[in-house]
């Protein structure tokens, strides 16, 4: 165990995390890497496997240190985004140390700091690395100062490197061995292994990525997930080299993979603890939270013809995303789609981004909502996240909404602005405390619904990018919630209806009306746009009828150009959704729903 190091790399985006990781892998397996690359060229399967092994999980490297001893270095990847801190935390929990990469031309930046605090929370030992020293603009001395001042790390430990040119890589490897601690753990104790990730493999079923904390895990063992209680037989264990490399067992301190014959990723809870069925550990590892959707939104294809494609894409995404829940949904305005549940706003963003990029789909997303608990007059209680199912106000006795405990890290000088922001978002601040020089933590309790729209962007703005935000679910509390309908030319547009706190309803409805006014083209009649709670109109705007085109001269018989313009106009019209007698361009839905978040 003394010859094992489990570490991750934390960095602000673009500071060179991936490049450094590639260099470390290369330096530790030069021969292997060459063979590997030669193979890759004509072996797509390996390429696929490589994607699984390296891109988003862990890799085990052999490194002979200067003292002559062979060490096993396990590099564990962390999701780049600290916003998704549950996932980052799980990866950090598998490590004892981390490299903190800072770009020598950019210096310490917001994500560096935010990541650093997460790492400190998990008691990781930190080793600063100053990257890109090959660049003329590199200022290593200034960055050393920042590492001292802003990160509170010892600037003399910092290793200057150029990941791109391969300078200083040996020093980094040596630093990992000398500065980062080996894992502690009891080989003889009952098995405790943290499942920090899982992937679906078309040939082998679900592959689990684990960090063994205590005990030993071997093929043939019967294991139990301590939280879900499910039991499985271990078919194979091994190390993540450039490809999976089977081994007989994984000892305390090791990082590797486990294949048990689990068929679907939905049967796995990331963060769960594996133990032996026969000799189980007393308690699971701390910090487990089951993945439960808290944010809901409907996803529609821009063109109803793409529903089939969307359906296939959702299925594929769900193969590797156990947290994504969805079911078929339909809207009068937008046709068929899916009502989806997400772990949070970032999860939602990741899913829609992947649908767009990997599956090339154009989407319309309805306004995100939380799950409300509604007590009906007749004594029944229903949970509702979709405005379409909101009961008549007369039938509702009371409503509760989910609250969160928010933790905001920010530089002291932005405290005033952040407190103001909290007030605007119905947050009750519980207290503030110093984390490090000039850096504060504000904790607050607030409705989750308040975070769904512009809170996060505003926080970034008022803290100039140096604020970070994290939260955990708290409980449900009474709230006055209303359903707001948006009416265009007196017709309800179902896809635009939303649930909101009564105090916030008017402002949001006004925003919708204003956006629609901008994005619905004028038509042959006047179009009123209204926001309404039941029969009560709370916001309105009007689109005047079209009155004048800029009719260009049709000179010299160049009719073709004019006709082409007209054809384009007609094509645009074909992409509109008809609501009542009004044609609404899809872009109108997109712009209303998107700008609401970025407002």
């Amino acid at each position: 165990m003394d010859h094992v190091r489990n570490f991750c790399i934390i960095a602000h985006i673009d500071h060179g995390k991936s490049t450094l990781a590639d260099r470390l892998i290369q330096a530790c397996g030069a021969v292997e890497a060459r063979q590997f690359r030669d193979q890759v060229l004509d072996d797509m399967d390996i390429e696929r496997e490589r994607g699984i092994t390296i891109k988003s999980n862990s890799v085990s490297l052999d490194y002979r240190a200067r003292d002559g001893e062979l060490h096993q270095l396990n590099l564990i990847d962390t999701p780049g985004h600290v916003d998704f801190s549950h996932e980052v935390r799980r990866s950090l929990m598998a490590c004892e140390g981390a490299l903190v990469v800072v770009d020598a031309t950019q210096g310490v930046e917001a994500q560096t700091v935010a990541n650093l605090y997460l790492a400190l929370e998990h008691d990781l030992e930190l080793l600063p690395v100053i990257n890109k020293i090959d660049l003329p603009a590199a200022d290593v001395e200034r960055v050393r100062e920042e590492i001292d001042q802003d990160l509170g790390l010892d600037p003399f430990d910092a290793i200057p490197v150029s990941a791109k040119q391969g300078l200083g890589i040996d020093e980094v490897l040596e630093g990992i061995v000398t500065h980062l601690p080996p894992p502690r753990g009891e080989r003889k104790a009952p098995l405790k292994a943290l499942v920090f990730d899982a992937r679906y493999d078309a040939y082998r079923g679900v592959v689990l990525y684990v960090r063994v904390v205590d005990g030993r895990l071997a093929s043939g063992d019967r294991v139990r997930f301590m939280h879900t209680g499910r039991e499985y037989e271990v078919h194979e264990v091994g190390l993540n080299r450039l490809r999976r490399e089977e081994s007989r067992g994984l000892d305390a301190g090791a990082v590797g993979y486990v294949i048990t014959g689990i068929k679907t990723i939905r049967d796995v809870s990331i963060g769960d603890t594996l133990t032996h069925a026969r000799e189980p550990a007393e308690a699971p590892l701390p910090g487990y939270k089951p993945a439960r959707p808290v944010v809901f939104s409907s996803i529609y294809p821009m063109s109803s013809r793409e529903y089939g494609d969307l359906s296939v894409a959702m299925e594929k995404l769900a193969l590797n995303d156990a947290a994504l829940v969805y079911q078929k949904d339909s809207s009068a305005a937008l046709g068929f789609g899916f009502r989806c549940g997400f772990l949070g706003l970032l999860h939602l963003d990741v899913v829609q981004e992947r649908l767009r990029r990997e599956f090339d789909l154009s989407l319309i997303l309805s306004a995100p909502s939380v799950l409300y608990r509604v007590q009906l007059r007749d004594g029944e209680r229903v949970d509702i996240d979709n405005p379409a199912y909101w009961p008549e106000p007369g039938a509702i006795d009371s409503v509760e909404e989910p609250y969160i405990r928010a933790s905001i890290l920010l530089p002291e000088k932005h405290l005033g602005a952040a407190m103001e922001l909290c007030r605007e978002h119905r947050a009750a601040t519980l207290g503030t405390g110093y984390l490090a020089r000039g850096r504060l933590e504000v904790s607050a309790e607030m409705p989750l619904a308040e975070v769904l729209f512009d809170f996060y962007d505003k926080l970034k703005t008022v803290t100039r990018g140096y604020g970070s935000f994290d939260y955990e679910p708290l409980d449900y509390r009474p709230a006055e919630v209303v359903k707001v309908d948006i009416l265009v030319h007196h017709e309800k547009v179902d896809a635009l209806a939303f649930l909101a706190h009564r105090e916030k309803a008017r402002a949001r409805a006004l925003h919708y009306c204003g956006q629609l006014e901008q994005s619905i083209p004028r038509q042959q009649f006047k179009i009123p746009i209204q926001g309404a709670i039941g029969a009560e109109i709370i916001a309105r705007s009007t689109i005047n009828p079209f009155r004048k085109d800029v009719t260009a001269k049709c000179y010299g018989g160049d009719v073709t150009r004019k006709r082409k313009l007209l054809e384009r106009q007609k094509k645009g019209k074909a992409r509109m959704k008809l609501v009542g007698s009004v044609e609404i361009p899809q872009e109108a839905f997109v712009s209303v729903l998107r700008t609401e978040r970025g407002r």
Binding site: F525, R547, K548, D549, V550, G556, L566, K570, K573
Partner: protein, 409 residues
């Protein structure tokens, strides 16, 4: 260029074939039987207006003479054209920049090589700075029937904004000179919708126009095109177009003032004192009648196919040097495309659309196909129904393009 283009076809001119493609029966508009139109594009101006996106440049005298020779060569290449012309339109650019001698040679060549009817009407576009007693008499002698004068405004500030080379006083003098010369139709062009044009300055220009007594007025809305000086100003936020509702109000004002003076609209931008003063030439474009365009960027149409010349004078000349027609591209119009154009023109002219004729030509009953939309428009007064005709009202003309875009085929 594909081998199917007219330019390629013209390399082996077979008498009477390349241009006399019989118009497809179904697409022939009723009331055809009129002649074809001949357009000649003169791509020179004394300076380039900041809103202009025509194919023009500033040409010194030697370049102009060289170009006249090019035109003569192009004219000769169209000897097989058979459809008789009853209009000859000299446009641009500024054809009045050419001397009377040059214009005379052009017209002579046209008459001797092409089937121009004896009673064909000759149209000439002129800019006020070229109007002088001598020149005007020469134009009359050349047989110019309609003189169209690019006045644009009678307001000095607006003229400066538009980058014109004349002032209001000169423009008035020029109009008087031309009116006095006794052209059959004296027309003047105005531009409205300048970014901060007030109703008052527009009205003043219109009143002046009315008082000068032309037979025909064209009143175009300023269009800001990308790639022009105004387009660049707009992109930098230094030129903001007039808001839609104000445009509409100005447009209504034009109709009101001109109607009171006796000029009735017959197209989106065109007004005539009597039906005989309407532009017989322009109406050919709107009615899908055949026309032949000569000179850079000019477009031609034979009832089924449309083709266009090279826009740049160099490419235009290079083709002529090879003894080829300077055609840059062409398209054969499908029935749907012809229908769309007919719809577009129908909405731009007070004649509107003859529903029965449209159904006969294109197999679409516009009114039945768009029952709801047409109903809305009849109710709100954008469209009017007169027997088989569906016609845009004044308010409808203002949104002609939108109506054409909304009406389904």
């Amino acid at each position: 260029m594909t081998a199917r283009s007219p330019a390629a076809a013209s390399r082996r001119p077979t008498a009477g074939r390349s241009a006399r493609v019989a118009p497809e029966r179904a697409s022939l508009p009723s009331g055809a039987g009129e002649g074809a139109g001949l357009y000649v594009h003169v791509p020179f101006c004394s300076a380039i207006c900041p809103y202009c996106d025509f194919a023009v440049s500033v040409g010194a005298a030697p370049r102009r003479e060289a170009f006249v020779r090019d035109l003569l060569r192009e004219i000769a290449l169209w000897r097989e054209w058979r459809e008789p012309f009853d209009t000859v339109y000299l446009g641009g650019g500024t054809p009045s920049i050419l001397g009377a001698g040059q214009l005379g040679r052009l017209l002579d060549a046209v008459r001797s090589h092409l089937p121009v009817r004896d009673d064909a009407r000759i149209f000439l576009e002129a800019n006020p700075e070229d109007v002088a007693h001598e020149a005007v008499s020469a134009w009359r002698r050349l047989g110019v029937h309609t003189l169209s004068l690019g006045v644009q405004s009678f307001d000095d500030r607006e003229l400066r904004f538009l980058g014109r080379r004349h002032d209001a006083a000169h423009a008035q003098g020029a109009v008087r000179e031309c009116v006095a010369a006794g052209f059959d139709t004296m027309s003047l062009d105005l531009i409205f919708g300048l970014p901060d044009q007030s109703a008052d300055t527009l009205r003043a220009s219109l009143d002046t126009a009315v008082a000068l007594g032309p037979d025909h007025v064209s009143c175009y809305q300023l269009t800001v095109h990308e790639g022009t000086a105004f387009g660049r100003r707009r992109a930098r936020g230094r030129l903001v177009e007039m808001p839609e509702d104000e445009q509409a109000a100005r447009y209504a004002l034009i109709h009101q003032v001109l109607a009171r003076g006796g000029w009735r609209a017959y197209e989106v931008s065109n007004f005539a004192r009597a039906p005989r003063h309407r532009s017989r030439h322009n109406m050919k474009y709107w009615r899908h009648l055949p026309y032949l365009g000569l000179g850079p960027s000019a477009h031609s149409f034979d009832g089924a196919r449309r083709w266009w010349n090279h826009r740049g004078i160099e490419a235009y000349r290079a083709a002529l040097d090879r003894d080829e027609r300077p055609v840059a591209g062409s398209e054969r119009l499908t029935r749907e495309e012809l229908a769309l154009e007919a719809l577009m023109f129908g909405m731009r002219t007070t004649e509107g659309i003859d529903l029965r004729d449209f159904r006969r030509r294109f197999g679409v009953d516009i009114a039945a196909r768009n029952r709801r939309f047409v109903g809305d428009c009849l109710e709100s007064g954008l469209l009017e129904r007169a027997g088989d005709r569906l016609k845009p009202s004044t308010a409808g003309l203002a949104v002609a393009d939108t109506l054409a875009a909304r009406l389904e085929l």
